[in-house]
Amino acid sequence: MPRRNDIESILIIGSGPIVIGQACEFDYSGAQACKVLKAEGYRVILVNSNPATIMTDPELVDRTYVEPITPEFVEKIIAAERPDALLATIGGQTGLNTAVALAKDGVLDRYNVELIGCDIQAIERGEDRKLFNECMESIGLETARCGYAYAVADAERLVKELGFPVVLRPSFTLGGAGGGIAYTEDELREIVRQGLELSPAGEVLVEESVLGWKEIEMEVMRDCAGNTITVCSIENFDAMGVHTGDSITVAPAQTLSAAEYARVRDASHAIVAAVGVAAGGSNIQLAIHPDNGRMIIIEMNPRVSRSSALASKATGFPIAKVSAKLAVGYTFDEIPNDITKIATAAFEPTIDYCVVKAPRFAFEKFKGTDTTLTTRMKAVGEVMSIGRSFEEAFGKALRSLEDGRAGLGADGKDAFDEERFAELVGLPTQDRVLYMAEALRRGWSVAEVSQASSVDPWFVSRMADMVAVERGIAALELGDIDSDTLFAAKGFGLSDSQIAHLTKTDEASVRAHRAALGVVPTVKTVDTCAAAFATDTEYKYKCYERGRSEVVPKTRKRALILGAGPNRIGQGIEFDYCCVHASYALHDIGYETIMVNCNPETVSTDYDTSDKLYFEPLTFEDVMDVIDVEQPDGVVVTLGGQTPLKLARALEAAGVNIMGTKPESIDLAEDRDRFSAILDELGITYPQADMASSFEEARRVADMLGFPLLVRPSYVLGGRGMAIVYDSAQLEKYMAEATRISPDHPVYLDRFLEGAIEVDVDALCDGERVYVGGVLEHIEMAGIHSGDSACCMPPFSLSEAIVSQLRTTTRRLALRLGVVGLINIQFAIKDSVIYVIEANPRASRTVPFVSKATCIPLAKCGARIMAGEKIADMDLPDDERRLGYYCVKEAVMPFGRFPGTDVVLGPEMRSTGEVMGIAKNFPAAYAKTQLAISYKLPEAGKVFLSVCDRDKRHIVAIARDIIRMGFTLLATAGTARTLEAAGIPVEEVKKVNETDSTIVDEIMSGEVSLMINTPLGNLALDDGYYLRSLAVRHGISHVTTLAGAQALIAGMEAAIEEGGLGVKALQDLPGLRGS
C-alpha cells in the first residue's frame, strides 16, 4: 500500500530525559522517524522535554515543543496543533504510556487524532502481562507459570504453588523498575511491597523462575499487509536473571540450531500478529532451557526499543526509519534498502561479522547500593563492537567501556576479591567476565566456569581460547613475536595495551612492532547483506583478516570526529549532540566527515549522520588505526567530552592535526599551576587552592586556606571523588580514600565558597573574537556539581553589572588561552566578587541547552571555527540581546534505581539526564522542569520540613508561602521552633527512632506530598538519610537544598496562579534564525 494521503500532520512523542532504561537510543530512533516523515511531506509536530536531543533541533520538524511529556501538556499541544495522527511507538515507554493515557481520557477521540503504528489494544496486549499471557496461550506459546499479586498476601499464596525463587515484575514500569528475584519470604515481601507502589496499576506479576536459561531477543517488524520480517536475533551472554540492558549481548544468536531458530522465528512472527502490531517494529524476549530446548516467551515490546537501536546498528537495517514508513502505510516491498539500493526492506538483513554489546555501569557513584545484577536494569550506558569473530568483538567491547581496562583482564589492573573469588565467578556483577577469565587462567575448566555462571559453554570456550592466546603471548619477548603470531593474537581481541602488559613493554613499542611487521587491521563494511550485493555504504569496522580492505581513496578534505563513547554519568548525550552537529557543519562546508564512536544508542553512530562511520573503541590504538587508514586532514577532539580530549596529546605527538583549540591550550586550562598563573596575569580572582599527595600535606594546605575545603582528585570528569570537607577528621578520611581512587594524581584542595552563586558561561572564540553563547545562573548554591544543579538562562537574580563583568572575563580568558572553538567557564559569585572556578576549552554539557534556548547552533559554529571560519562571518545576532523568556534546565537523578544510596546533592555528579522548561518567567519555567521529571507538582497535603541550622532563618519565608498555598506543615523539633517563633502554624513530629514517631507512617500513607530536608556538610547515615530514601522509594517530591525549595515553591505558585502553564513551540520563540 502506498503512502497515506488522508493524514497531513503527525504528532511524535519523544522519550524525555535520559534515565536508566530509557536513554538516547530514543533520540536516535526519534530523529530518524522525524526525518523520514518530514521527507515524506507530512507536517511533523514533536514533543520532548529533553533539550540535549537531535530530534528537538528546531529545523528537523515543523513544530518542536520542549515541554513536559504529560497527558496534560500533550493535550495542550494537540489542541494547539490539531494533528491528524499520533506516532507513539518510537518514544519508548514514556511515549507509549502517554499515548495510552491520552486515548483513555478520550483526548484522542475528542480531537480526532488517530494512533498510528500500533493501536491501544495492541499496546495493552503487549504491556499488560495478563492480557499478554492469555494472548500467548491462544496461539499455543508457553509463558512462565505465574499469577498476579495486588497485595503482599497474594504473592505469598502464589509462591506456595510456584516455589522459590520467583521473578517479580511490577506492571507498566520502565526498564523493569521495581522488579526483582526473591529467594526468601523476606525478599518476596520487600520487593512486592515496593513493586506495588511503583506500578501505576498497583499490580505485580509473580512468575516461575527461568534463571539460568538462555535469553534470546528477536527484533521483528510487520507491515500493514501482515508481512513480517526478522531484522536480528540477539543472544544474551548472561543467562536469564540479568536484565537484558545489564547483560552482555551478542548478535546474531550463536548457540541456537537451525531447528531451534526456526521455532523462535516462527513464534516471534506469530506473536506480533497475535498482539496486533499494526505496522512497525517489535522486540520479543524468549527464554530457552539449555538442556531440553523448552521455550518460554518472556515479553514483547510493541515499539522500538533499546534492543532495536542495537539491532539497527548491528545490521545496518534502520528499524526506526522503516517503522515510521510502515506507520504511514507503506509495505516492505515499497521501502528501498538504503544500503544495497537493489533490495527492499522485505529482505531480512544478514551479517558476516559478530556484534557484541556490553553494558556500562556507574556503581562507584552510588555508595551503599547493591551491585549485583538482577532483573532490574542498573546500567547507565552501553558500547557495541564489531569483529570477524566473537573473540575479536568481545575484546573490543571490553576495551570500549572506558572503565580503565584494556580488554578481558591481562592489562595489569586485575584486582580480585580472593575471599569471595569462587562466588564472584558465578554472581552476576559488572566484573563477572573478569572473574570468569581469571578462573580459566587459574585452571578452572570451561565446564566449571559455565556451571558456576550459567553462561553458555560456547562463550566460555571462546574466553578460554582468548586466555590461552594471552598466555602464549606472555611467554614471548615482544621483539621475538613474528607477524603470523601477532596477527593471530590481534584476531583474538588482544589490544596493544594488553600485549604491552603481557610482554612487559609499552603500548608504543607494540604499535611500532606491529607497524614493522605489517600487522595492521583490515577495514570491512556493514552492508546488511553479507556482501551478496555491491554497496557503496561507508559504515565500517576494523578487523584482523588477511584479505581485502574496503577503503575508498580520498577525494576531498577529511575531518575525523571523535565521539564520546558509552553514556555514563558526567558524559552523556550532550556530547553526542555536539559531535553530530560538528559532523553536519563540517559536511556542509565541504569536508568528508568521519565519525568514530562505539555507543550504539546515539545519533552519531547512525550510518547516515556522517559521510563515514567507524564503529570502534575510542582508544589510542583504535583511533590511530582509523587515522592511518583514512589520513584525515584534521581531527576534532573537543566535542566528545573527556574521552577524546584524553587522546589529544598522544594524537598530536603522533603527528595528527588537532582541529581548533590545540592540546597546548587544553593543558593550559587543565594544569592548575599554569591556569592559576594565567589568572594572576589577567588579574582574575579565583578561590585559593593548593594540592597535596598525603594527609600531612593536605593539613598544611588546610591550615593556610581554612575550612571548608572543596577537595578532588586531578583529571576527572563529572566530579568523580569530589567532596566538601568541613574539618580535619573529614579531610583525613578523604585523603585515605582519594589515594586509592587515583594514586598517580595528587588531590586538589580549594577554598570552598559556601553560599556562593554558581554561573556557567558557554562561548565561542576564533582567536580574535569571542561570542558569549549563554550565561547560566545555577539555582543550587556552590558545592552542588554543575551537572546536577538546575540552571536558568538568562540569569534570574544577577545584576547587569555582574553579567557584564562575566562576559568581559570570559572574553579575556578565552583569548588568552588561545581557544579556537568552544569554551565553558564556571564562575562563583560571593559577596559581589566573581571567582573563576574552572575553564574547559571544549564543548560543555550545557551546549545543547544553550543552543535550544537561544536558537544559535553553538556546536555547529564551534566546528566551523575549528575549520578556520571567523565569528565575524557567521552573521550571529548580538550576544547581549535580551531573550524575552526564561529557560530552565533541571537534572534528573536516578536514585530510584539505587536503593540505599543517599540522595543529597553534592559535588559529585550523579544525574543521568536533563529536562528543559521554557516560560515567560523563571518560576513557571522551573515548574515545567519539575513536571517534566516527576509528572506532577505537589498540590495539597502536608509538607515536611527539616532544615539544618544554617538554613533555619531562610526557611521562614518559604514556610509562609507554603501555608498560603493551602498546605499544612510538619517539622522536626528545631525547625518547628523556628517556625513557631515566626508565628507559623506547624505540627512538630518526632524523629524516626523516637517512640511514638509517626513521620514514617505519614510518608508511607501518602499524606506527605513534599519533603524539604537540607543536611549540612558531613552526610552521616542519619534520620534525614532514612527519610530521604523513603521519599525516593515512595515517589514523594523532595528537595535537599534551600535554593531548590525556593524555586520549587515559586514554581508551584506560578502553576496555580496562571491556571496552568502554557505551551510554546521553539519555532515561535523570538529570534529563531535559519527558518
Binding site: D352, P457, W458, D465, V469, G547
Partner: protein
Amino acid sequence: MSEQSKALLGTTSAPQGAPALLVLADGTVFEGYSCAAPGEVFGEISFDTSMIGYEEVIADAANAGKIVCMTYPQIGNYGVNRGDLAAGKALIGGMVVRALCQTPSNWRSEVGLAELLCEQGIVAVEGVDTRMLTQHIRDCGTQLAVLSTLDGDPASLGAKLRERQGGSAACGASAQAGAPAARRAPAPAQTRKKAD
C-alpha cells in the same frame, strides 16, 4: 603460517590444520587450513549468507557437489544433530569458512561439524577471508573451483581445473586475490529469506 603462531594456536580449541588451497577457474587463489577431511575436490563455488543453518546448507540437494562458502565467519557453533540433515548426510562437495568451531554447544548436538565432515570425507578449509571470496563470486559469478589439502601448488591446481573445463577460462582469469575484481551483474544470494 609460522611455527610460533602454530604453537600459539595449538593451545586453543582450534589448532591450525594442514595448509589448504582454494583455486578458482579464473585463477584466483585463496590460502587456508584444512579443517575437515583431507582430499581434493572440484565443484562449483557458491556462497551462502545464512547466519544460522549450516546443517541445512550442507545437506541441501541444491548444493550437491558444490564448494560452498559460508559468509557468517564462525561456523559450527551449535554442532550437528544428524536428524536435522535433510538428506541424512552432507551433500556438498566442499566447504569454505573463516573459522570452524571445534567446541560446539547445544543440547541437541550429537557431533561437531568438523567431525561430521571428516566422517563423510568432505574437504573444508578455514582461515579464508570469506567476505572477499563472496565479493569475488558476486562480481565474477559462480565458477568451477578446486579445494585441496593435498596439492600445495596453485599452478598445478589451476592446470587441473583447466583440464576439467576443457581449456575454457572463466571470467577474469588473471584476477588475483586482493586485486579489485571487475564488476559484473550481481549474482542473487541463494538463501535470503523473503518476507513471509
